[in-house]
Symmetry: none
Subunit: 221 residues, 2 copies
């Protein structure tokens, strides 16, 4: 656990110990990186506001070193840095201060249980795969080249595979949060994507949920 506010650190430390966890406590970012590199923990609780290195930097450094211990982030407040930021950086969960102690325990248990290194550097849906780091899309072993917009759309759909996402959500995340044009663009790009990833393979990974939006079939269609 990485937390510089001593009172809070102490309270939570005691509480977690009572709940059966073995807790190690450090108070700044540098020590956090060092400790996490040297030891192997089940889970790391990481505050954002820290002396020397802030929580985001710590997380970045750890992930860059290939340390994939689950991380639960503590944020001081909704806003500025929000949930999305934390998740994008590789945090596995987050809590906003002040948080409920029972929720913290529950989330930690969930993270530990989830355990396994199922971190998706490569998103897959059936025989369709998208390598986020390399920006590569393959289906059935064959590489598919996409334009930036097409890629952005596909990545969004793949990250939410199984969920129905509305055209508005898509516009806000793949286009611009302040986009106010015709949602028809999305339809057009869905068509482009289908032409590249579905039609040649006689599948339909992207489903239309009429009146709601689209849904990436987790099985690839």
């Amino acid at each position: 656990m990485v937390e510089d506010e001593l009172r809070l650190a102490d309270t939570v430390h005691r509480g977690l110990t009572d709940a059966g966890f073995v807790v190690e406590l450090v108070h700044d970012g540098e020590n956090a990186v060092w400790a996490a590199t040297e030891h192997s923990y089940d889970v790391i609780v990481l505050d954002i506001m820290l002396p020397k290195l802030n929580g985001y930097r710590v997380l970045e450094l750890l992930r860059a070193r290939g340390i994939w211990t689950p991380v639960l982030m503590l944020t001081a407040k909704d806003g500025e840095y929000d949930q999305t930021d934390a998740f994008d950086l590789g945090a596995d969960d987050y809590l906003t201060k002040p948080f409920s102690f029972l929720v913290l325990v529950a989330r930690l248990r969930a993270l530990i249980r989830r355990g396994g290194p199922e971190r998706p550097v490569v998103l897959t849906a059936g025989d369709l795969s998208l390598d986020v780091a390399r920006r590569r899309v393959e289906r059935n072993g064959r590489e598919i080249t996409l334009t930036p917009r097409e890629y952005g759309l596909l990545e969004f759909l793949m990250r939410h595979r199984g969920d129905t996402v509305s055209k508005t959500e898509i516009l806000q995340n793949v286009w611009d949060p302040a986009f106010d044009g015709d949602p028809n663009v999305v339809e057009v790009y869905v068509r482009y994507l289908r032409k590249k990833i579905d039609t040649p393979f006689a599948r339909h990974a992207i489903e239309t949920i009429r009146g709601m939006g689209y849904r990436m079939n987790p099985e690839g269609g």
Copy 2:
């Protein structure tokens, strides 16, 4: 919302409804626990001083049952029980009476938005299940595709499963609050739904309560 002071309850109920929330009101701790266990709410507003079971007990019981619906607590006054107590027990936010109505709305919105990713948003009635996030309906393991209107109706019935809901209520919640057309639409859509979720499975999850309305059988029919 759990609140025993009738006047306050009524005012807040009206205000929240105007603000676009769908509000269910109970007046004591026992009913609160029961309602929260049976239904799935976005957020619970919980007074501390309550007949039968006080707010702290209610919260404790809910969390013990694995119900992680966000809870906003209403406290009469700072002191004795203070913020820390509420947070320790798993409340997600709190307000001190008297509170500003706008603040309440803002906090509720924040709680709903924050909504944990690991909360099961799947409504079930027997072997019938509705996954709100994925917008997926299944019966007996088989997926059922619904039109937006059909889905809206089913979701409403499932959220109130066990209760008899009138056609007017349905019209106001699934159609438009200002709807003034023929309530026969509801009958027509109930028929569509039955054709999809009941007939093929030789069940009747949607019961007709003559002269009153409809009722979703919690056991699935």
